[in-house]
Amino acid sequence: MSPVTEPEAARRTVETVWRMEAGRVVAGIAGVVRDVGLAEELAQDALVAALEQWPRDGVPANPGAWLTTVGRRRAVDAIRRRQAQQRTLAELGRDLDERVSPDLDAVVEETIDDDLLRLIFVACHPVLSPIARAALTLRLLGGLTTGEIARAFLTTESTVGQRITRAKQTLATAHVPFEVPGPAERAERLDSVLEVVYLIFNEGYAATAGDDWVRPALCQEALRLARLLQGLMPGEPEVHGLAALLEIQASRTAARAGPDGAPILLNDQDRSRWDRLLIRRGLAALDRARALGDSGPYTIQAEIAACHARARTPGETDWARIAALYADLARIVPSPVVELNRAVAVAQADGPAAGLELARKLADEPALAHYHLLPSVLGDLLARLGRHEEARAEFERAARLTGNARERSLLLERAAGCRSKKS
């Protein structure tokens, strides 16, 4: 036991430890009760017990194990109460007695790792919507409060609370077992997990230099989850691919917005402000992903991000490789947006005419009918070919389609520029 500290300091320590350990504590309890919703309630009970005891007695040497053990004991109590009414559970109770020892050392770290992995797969089960999965994951694994999750997703606390409650009900109704999925559904279920981590990251990343610190913090939560997954599933290439992608994207955080919060495009960013440490970590994760087998979509996107990260100036960018990587990506996950990105890369590698030819093919794509980036790219390529009148029409079309005021004024400026060049 560490020396007894001031009550206020002790309370903050409890909260800090809770956030650090929440995932492992909930997982460790769920490993016994096999029910994520119940495990979370019991973990909360353990937290309340810690808030009572630690300020008085000091913080235990292994706080996570303390919380897990208290939660498991409460689980046994709860199940015994049910047993009194329902003798059929007697066997489960005996089994529990064997698994729940009063000894703190009984919280074996390796089995907690297994439980943690099960918890992640359950919280990210495809029976839940991606946004519900994200809320549940941040709550169960990140130890975030509903209030913090609500601020991060720019919604109300009651909405998040309901979302989490409904998610737990859905998992219970669907009888989702507390298990790591078997080989038959492993790939699909892993996709479902990675999608959630990427969603959380993008939710934070999309908000450039916002007033609200919570949204950039979402990027941190996502990175933390991605690194956690690397430790739990070291043999999965796409886990490392996703981690690589997030590390490299996060490396540009300081450079991607001006002092006034205006977004700065990749080619205009001050590359000396890119975080070399995160880039190194990203490249290392990418190496691990590649060493494990064929590249999946996250690994390919990480490769593309790495091409930019390796270029010290925009001129050094290996656009031919990026174009080839987009072609690989389009083969695995066909999408007009990926095709449009490929057109941009091809234009950089082989000149605007080649890019234009590809981009033009997308003109009839219904999915891009209202996507401002298509006319924006077309306008840019046409302008570079000196076809200013056509370029102007595209920029104006793009300006009508974008919902972002800053972007609209930029596009209208370019349209005006085309007009002056023509006359």
Partner: protein
Amino acid sequence: MRYMLMHKLDENTPGAFDPSPEFIQDLGGYIEEVAKAGVLLAAEGLEKSSNESARITVTKGRTTVIDGPFTETKELIAGFGLLEVRSKEEAVEWARRYADLFGRHGIDVEVDVRRVSEGPMES
């Protein structure tokens, strides 16, 4: 937010800079724990100051370079860890667990927790 944890040891304490296999195993477990939690960005341990060290001092514009060991310095930086955490309290909690690790092996240690400057220097 990033914090640097620096631990300082007395070179004259036996076992401080030449750790036992048991200590190394314990340390490995701690490093794995921090890495798995997704907060460890980098960590390095340092050799004792008798092994290829030097100290450069500038005093009133005069530069002197002396080679180690720095026998007159009691507490020498012995390693560092760079953590990305949510709060100072979290950094302190990781540092406490790190310090306890030394304590369990009977080694006195001092661990400093320092906030890493982030963002542009000019702002």
